[in-house]
């Protein structure tokens, strides 16, 4: 039971990363590699701030802000420097690896004997692992609620239009570069926040914590899409958070089959690859069905003649 509760909690905390990634990957429609750097950045900033006496909750605000700066760096390289967005993200991600070491002062830093959001009296009183569920649900509700409101404003609509049809958005006077920068900032802010929360939940930050997180975020988005199907944009935000939880369950099952922690990245990649191929196979299957049906109908027509 506690394993399931823990998976739900982890899924929710990672779900924030998924929602952040959703803004760039799905709404703006480009892959943002910055997340592999902004995730450990958020973790490092949060943990380093706490060890310097900053309140754990405030440290998360700093993690969010640091993530936003990372997103801005990628955005400026992309929109003003005309560096291809994939490369811009990789550049920032690589640079952040060094920056994160400086922030931590070493490769990893523990929160042992330090205050921590999850050591809060109220949360500590909950049964084991319910603390992360509690925090995760609260965070997802606030974040999804704010985003849903934002996406229905004129600014939010201009943001969506930028990802949907940039030429049209420009012809309507939307400053598309500003929209992309804004999207990258908010997305990486959320990724940084997710990093900070997970670091506090784990009790440490590690500079290598970012490796493969983009796969985890994408898995949440894609699983949400494959499982829940056609949804409105607002619903898809929630579907991503739920997809993140489902992804944790998949991991639980796979680990239960006897795979070790060292196989985790391989498994994440395989899970994502399979999920990405589902729509293609599904379509091919449907086409086969349709073809079969068509053939049968012609046969019938023939036999009636």
């Amino acid at each position: 039971m506690s394993i399931v509760v823990s998976a739900i909690g982890q899924g929710l905390l990672w779900g924030i990363l998924g929602i952040g990634l959703f803004l760039t990957f799905r709404v703006l429609d480009f892959p943002d590699m910055t997340v592999e750097g902004s995730f450990p950045l958020g973790a490092s900033v949060s943990v380093a701030a706490i060890t310097h006496g900053v309140d754990p909750l405030l440290s998360l605000v700093l993690a969010f802000g640091a993530g936003m700066l990372a997103g801005l760096a990628t955005g400026l390289l992309y929109t003003k420097g005309k560096v291809p967005v994939l490369l811009a993200g990789i550049l920032v991600m690589t640079a952040l690896y060094s920056i994160n070491q400086h922030i931590l002062g070493r490769a990893n830093l523990s929160l042992l004997n330090q205050p921590n959001l999850f050591k809060n009296k109220l949360l500590a009183a909950l049964p084991p692992y319910f603390d992360s569920v509690f925090v995760g649900v609260g965070a997802i509700i606030v974040i999804a609620g704010l985003l849903m409101w934002f996406l229905q404003t004129n600014l939010g609509q201009a943001f969506i239009a930028t990802g949907d049809n940039e030429i049209m958005a420009q012809s309507l006077g939307v400053h598309t570069d500003a929209m992309k920068n804004m999207g990258l900032m908010v997305a990486n802010g959320l990724v940084g926040l997710s990093g900070g929360l997970i670091a506090q939940n784990n009790g440490y930050a590690d500079v290598n914590q970012g490796i493969g997180v983009i796969v985890i975020g994408l898995a949440a988005i894609i699983i949400g899409e494959v499982v829940f199907g056609e949804l409105t944009l607002n619903q898809r935000l929630i579907a991503t958070a739920l997809g993140s939880i489902l992804y944790r369950f998949v991991l639980l099952i796979v680990l239960g089959l006897g795979f070790g922690d060292e196989d985790l990245k391989l498994i994440s990649a395989v899970v994502l690859a399979v999920m990405l191929m589902v729509p293609t196979f599904e379509q091919r299957f449907k086409m086969k069905q349709a073809l079969k049906k068509g053939l049968e109908m012609t046969k019938e027509a023939d036999s009636h003649e």
């Binding site: 404003t153 004129n154 609509q157 201009a158 969506i160 239009a161 049209m168 012809s171 309507l172 006077g173």
Partner: protein
């Protein structure tokens, strides 16, 4: 000339290719009176699209462009969107495919404005949008909540036109906007375009390859050739113009 809707002086566009400089729009002067509907003819490469791109600010150009008395020469394409609305040839370009018809219309309602955190007020606008969409007679009014990518090409282009005129632009640019449609739908959209321009007293430039459309619609016709304005017919001379007269430009 401040009462002109469009005043273009010495508009020139040059491109550099393999150490060669080529002038693709050569010192074009063009003044258009308010409410004029000008059709633009010319062969491929005559500079029609270049003229549009230069007016809209999508191409680096020298010369001056004034719209409704405002000098937009130093403005970017995005800033010029306040004055210029454009309907493209490709139905996919004019609308945001994953957004619904109503969302697209509300987006266009704020053309050239600062996008703020104010609500989009889709529901309040719905009755008006429904009424506007209904004037096309192609069922667009029943598709307000459908993503535009599910629409037919004709429906998408009529939506693009409706979006373009939402805020009565100082200049409407129609860039072969019926070319991708079948003849019947194309004729329908052309008639509608003409009606909308007249009703709203818009100033419009329309590129077309359909000579009959160029003759039938608008009150002025210009012919472009290798970056120049080759011919310019006003309402009176355009009325006398025959298909054969124009064919000589296309030898």
């Amino acid at each position: 000339m401040s009462d002109a809707a469009v005043a273009i002086q010495n508009l020139q566009v040059t491109v550099h290719q393999q150490n060669q400089t080529k002038v693709i729009l050569d010192n074009v002067d063009l003044t258009i009176a308010p409410g004029d509907f000008v059709t633009v003819l010319g062969t491929n490469g005559a500079g029609k699209s270049t003229l549009f791109n230069a007016i809209a600010g999508n191409l680096p150009a020298t010369g001056r462009v004034q719209l409704a008395g405002v000098d937009v020469t130093t403005m970017s394409a995005i800033q010029r969107a306040r004055y210029i609305a454009r309907v493209f040839q490709d139905p996919k370009l004019g609308t945001a495919g994953r957004m619904t018809v109503a969302e697209n219309l509300v987006l266009a309602q704020h053309r050239g404005e600062r996008r703020t955190l104010a609500g989009r007020h889709l529901e309040a606008a719905r009755p008006r949008l429904k009424k506007e969409a209904a004037q096309f007679g192609n069922g667009l009014e029943d598709l307000l909540d459908s993503p535009t990518e599910t629409l037919s090409g004709g429906q998408r282009q009529s939506l693009a036109l409706l979006m373009a005129v939402q805020k009565d632009p100082a200049l409407l640019l129609l860039d072969e906007h019926t070319a991708a449609l079948d003849p019947h739908t194309s004729a329908q959209l052309m008639a509608l375009t003409d009606r909308v321009i007249k009703e709203r007293h818009l100033t419009a430039l329309m590129i077309t390859h359909r000579m009959d459309d160029a003759l039938k619609y608008g009150n002025r016709l210009i012919v472009m050739e290798s970056g120049h304005l080759k011919a310019d017919y006003n309402a009176a001379s355009k009325a006398k113009l025959q298909r054969a007269d124009l064919l000589e430009f296309f030898d």
